[in-house]
Protein backbone atom coordinates (compact mmCIF):
# COMPACT_ATOMS: atom_id res chain seq x y z
CA UNK A 1 0.00 0.00 0.00
CA UNK A 2 1.09 3.55 -0.77
CA UNK A 3 2.44 5.40 2.29
CA UNK A 4 -0.17 8.17 1.96
CA UNK A 5 -2.86 5.49 1.98
CA UNK A 6 -1.32 3.89 5.06
CA UNK A 7 -1.32 7.23 6.86
CA UNK A 8 -4.91 7.89 5.90
CA UNK A 9 -5.87 4.53 7.38
CA UNK A 10 -3.89 5.23 10.56
CA UNK A 11 -5.38 8.66 11.21
CA UNK A 12 -8.94 7.52 10.58
CA UNK A 13 -8.74 4.25 12.51
CA UNK A 14 -8.71 5.95 15.94
CA UNK A 15 -10.22 9.20 17.22
CA UNK A 16 -6.89 10.58 18.47
CA UNK A 17 -3.60 9.79 16.78
CA UNK A 18 -0.28 11.43 17.67
CA UNK A 19 2.75 11.10 15.41
CA UNK A 20 5.82 11.58 17.55
CA UNK A 21 9.51 10.84 17.92
CA UNK A 22 9.85 8.01 20.41
CA UNK A 23 7.14 6.68 22.69
CA UNK A 24 5.03 8.36 25.40
CA UNK A 25 7.28 6.69 28.00
CA UNK A 26 10.48 7.62 26.18
CA UNK A 27 9.97 10.61 23.90
CA UNK A 28 13.05 11.32 21.80
CA UNK A 29 12.41 15.02 21.32
CA UNK A 30 11.26 17.81 23.62
CA UNK A 31 8.36 18.79 21.39
CA UNK A 32 7.06 15.23 21.23
CA UNK A 33 7.37 14.96 25.01
CA UNK A 34 5.44 18.20 25.42
CA UNK A 35 2.69 16.95 23.10
CA UNK A 36 2.26 13.80 25.21
CA UNK A 37 2.10 15.87 28.40
CA UNK A 38 -0.54 18.18 26.93
CA UNK A 39 -2.74 15.23 25.92
CA UNK A 40 -2.35 13.78 29.41
CA UNK A 41 -3.29 17.10 30.98
CA UNK A 42 -6.43 17.07 28.81
CA UNK A 43 -7.34 13.69 30.27
CA UNK A 44 -7.26 11.98 26.88
CA UNK A 45 -7.31 8.24 27.44
CA UNK A 46 -7.27 6.41 24.16
CA UNK A 47 -4.47 8.13 22.35
CA UNK A 48 -2.79 6.08 19.66
CA UNK A 49 0.82 7.12 19.13
CA UNK A 50 2.98 6.38 16.12
CA UNK A 51 6.75 6.48 16.56
CA UNK A 52 8.05 7.95 13.32
CA UNK A 53 11.63 7.04 14.22
CA UNK A 54 10.76 3.38 13.81
CA UNK A 55 9.32 3.92 10.32
CA UNK A 56 11.31 6.17 7.94
CA UNK A 57 8.62 5.95 5.27
CA UNK A 58 5.96 7.28 7.64
CA UNK A 59 8.39 9.88 8.97
CA UNK A 60 8.74 11.45 5.51
CA UNK A 61 5.22 10.64 4.34
CA UNK A 62 3.50 12.35 7.26
CA UNK A 63 5.18 15.65 6.39
CA UNK A 64 3.63 15.59 2.94
CA UNK A 65 0.30 14.29 4.21
CA UNK A 66 -0.52 17.41 6.21
CA UNK A 67 1.84 19.76 4.36
CA UNK A 68 3.54 20.16 7.71
CA UNK A 69 7.32 19.75 7.93
CA UNK A 70 7.66 18.99 11.62
CA UNK A 71 6.79 16.32 14.18
CA UNK A 72 4.81 15.90 16.46
CA UNK A 73 1.51 16.03 14.58
CA UNK A 74 -1.88 15.54 16.21
CA UNK A 75 -4.91 14.15 14.37
CA UNK A 76 -8.41 14.12 15.84
CA UNK A 77 -11.13 12.25 13.96
CA UNK A 78 -8.84 12.03 10.97
CA UNK A 79 -8.26 15.78 10.80
CA UNK A 80 -4.87 17.38 11.27
CA UNK A 81 -5.01 19.62 14.35
CA UNK A 82 -1.48 20.96 14.61
CA UNK A 83 1.98 20.58 16.07
CA UNK A 84 3.20 21.16 19.61
CA UNK A 85 2.84 24.96 19.53
CA UNK A 86 -0.74 24.83 18.34
CA UNK A 87 -1.60 22.07 20.82
CA UNK A 88 -0.23 24.21 23.65
CA UNK A 89 -2.12 27.28 22.54
CA UNK A 90 -5.38 25.35 22.12
CA UNK A 91 -4.88 23.73 25.52
CA UNK A 92 -4.36 27.11 27.17
CA UNK A 93 -7.56 28.38 25.58
CA UNK A 94 -9.46 25.25 26.62
CA UNK A 95 -10.18 24.35 22.99
CA UNK A 96 -8.15 21.18 22.84
CA UNK A 97 -9.95 19.71 25.86
CA UNK A 98 -13.30 20.36 24.17
CA UNK A 99 -12.15 18.85 20.90
CA UNK A 100 -10.87 15.72 22.66
CA UNK A 101 -14.06 15.34 24.72
CA UNK A 102 -16.14 15.48 21.59
CA UNK A 103 -13.92 12.93 19.91
CA UNK A 104 -14.69 10.40 22.67
CA UNK A 105 -11.01 9.81 23.43
Amino acid sequence: MDVQERIKQQVTSSPVVLYMKGTPQFPQCGFSGAAVQILKACGAQNVVTVDVLSDPEIREGIKAYANWPTIPQLYVNGEFVGGADIMREMYQQGELQKMLENSAA
Partner: protein, 79 residues
Protein backbone atom coordinates in the same frame (compact mmCIF):
# COMPACT_ATOMS: atom_id res chain seq x y z
CA UNK B 1 25.87 28.00 12.29
CA UNK B 2 22.42 29.40 11.72
CA UNK B 3 21.77 32.48 13.82
CA UNK B 4 18.44 33.88 14.96
CA UNK B 5 19.18 36.99 12.84
CA UNK B 6 19.55 34.87 9.70
CA UNK B 7 16.40 32.94 10.45
CA UNK B 8 14.56 36.21 10.94
CA UNK B 9 15.75 37.37 7.49
CA UNK B 10 14.75 34.10 5.86
CA UNK B 11 11.22 34.41 7.22
CA UNK B 12 10.96 38.08 6.23
CA UNK B 13 12.11 37.31 2.70
CA UNK B 14 9.16 35.00 2.19
CA UNK B 15 6.51 36.62 4.36
CA UNK B 16 5.67 40.27 4.98
CA UNK B 17 5.89 40.81 8.73
CA UNK B 18 4.67 43.77 10.75
CA UNK B 19 6.75 42.50 13.62
CA UNK B 20 9.07 39.57 14.07
CA UNK B 21 11.25 38.42 16.91
CA UNK B 22 13.42 35.31 16.75
CA UNK B 23 15.33 33.97 19.73
CA UNK B 24 17.77 31.08 20.01
CA UNK B 25 21.53 30.90 20.01
CA UNK B 26 22.45 27.22 19.69
CA UNK B 27 22.03 27.10 15.91
CA UNK B 28 19.25 24.51 16.12
CA UNK B 29 16.44 25.56 18.41
CA UNK B 30 14.58 28.77 17.78
CA UNK B 31 11.55 30.58 19.10
CA UNK B 32 9.72 33.10 16.99
CA UNK B 33 6.93 35.61 17.46
CA UNK B 34 5.54 36.70 14.12
CA UNK B 35 2.91 39.31 13.26
CA UNK B 36 1.83 39.37 9.63
CA UNK B 37 -1.16 40.79 7.75
CA UNK B 38 -1.04 37.60 5.66
CA UNK B 39 -2.34 35.68 8.70
CA UNK B 40 -5.67 37.50 8.72
CA UNK B 41 -8.62 35.16 8.26
CA UNK B 42 -6.44 32.06 8.45
CA UNK B 43 -6.42 29.23 10.99
CA UNK B 44 -3.41 28.67 13.25
CA UNK B 45 -2.42 25.71 11.09
CA UNK B 46 -2.55 27.84 7.95
CA UNK B 47 -0.57 30.61 9.65
CA UNK B 48 2.21 28.24 10.62
CA UNK B 49 2.14 26.72 7.13
CA UNK B 50 2.82 30.18 5.68
CA UNK B 51 5.92 30.48 7.85
CA UNK B 52 7.08 26.99 6.87
CA UNK B 53 6.49 27.87 3.23
CA UNK B 54 8.61 31.00 3.59
CA UNK B 55 11.43 28.85 4.93
CA UNK B 56 11.03 26.19 2.25
CA UNK B 57 13.70 23.46 2.21
CA UNK B 58 15.61 25.24 4.99
CA UNK B 59 13.03 23.86 7.39
CA UNK B 60 14.23 20.40 6.50
CA UNK B 61 17.93 21.05 5.97
CA UNK B 62 19.00 23.67 8.48
CA UNK B 63 16.43 24.14 11.18
CA UNK B 64 15.96 21.43 13.76
CA UNK B 65 13.31 23.05 15.86
CA UNK B 66 11.27 26.19 15.43
CA UNK B 67 8.68 27.02 18.01
CA UNK B 68 6.39 29.86 17.00
CA UNK B 69 3.52 32.07 18.00
CA UNK B 70 1.69 33.81 15.22
CA UNK B 71 -0.54 36.88 15.37
CA UNK B 72 -2.55 38.94 12.93
CA UNK B 73 -2.03 42.71 13.36
CA UNK B 74 -5.45 42.72 15.03
CA UNK B 75 -4.83 39.93 17.56
CA UNK B 76 -1.38 41.41 18.24
CA UNK B 77 -2.88 44.82 19.06
CA UNK B 78 -5.38 43.23 21.46
CA UNK B 79 -2.91 41.25 23.50
Amino acid sequence: MLTSEQLKEYIQQGLPCDYIDVQGNDGQHFEAVIVSPEFTGKSMVQQHQLVYKALGPRMRDEIHALSMRTFTPETWAKR
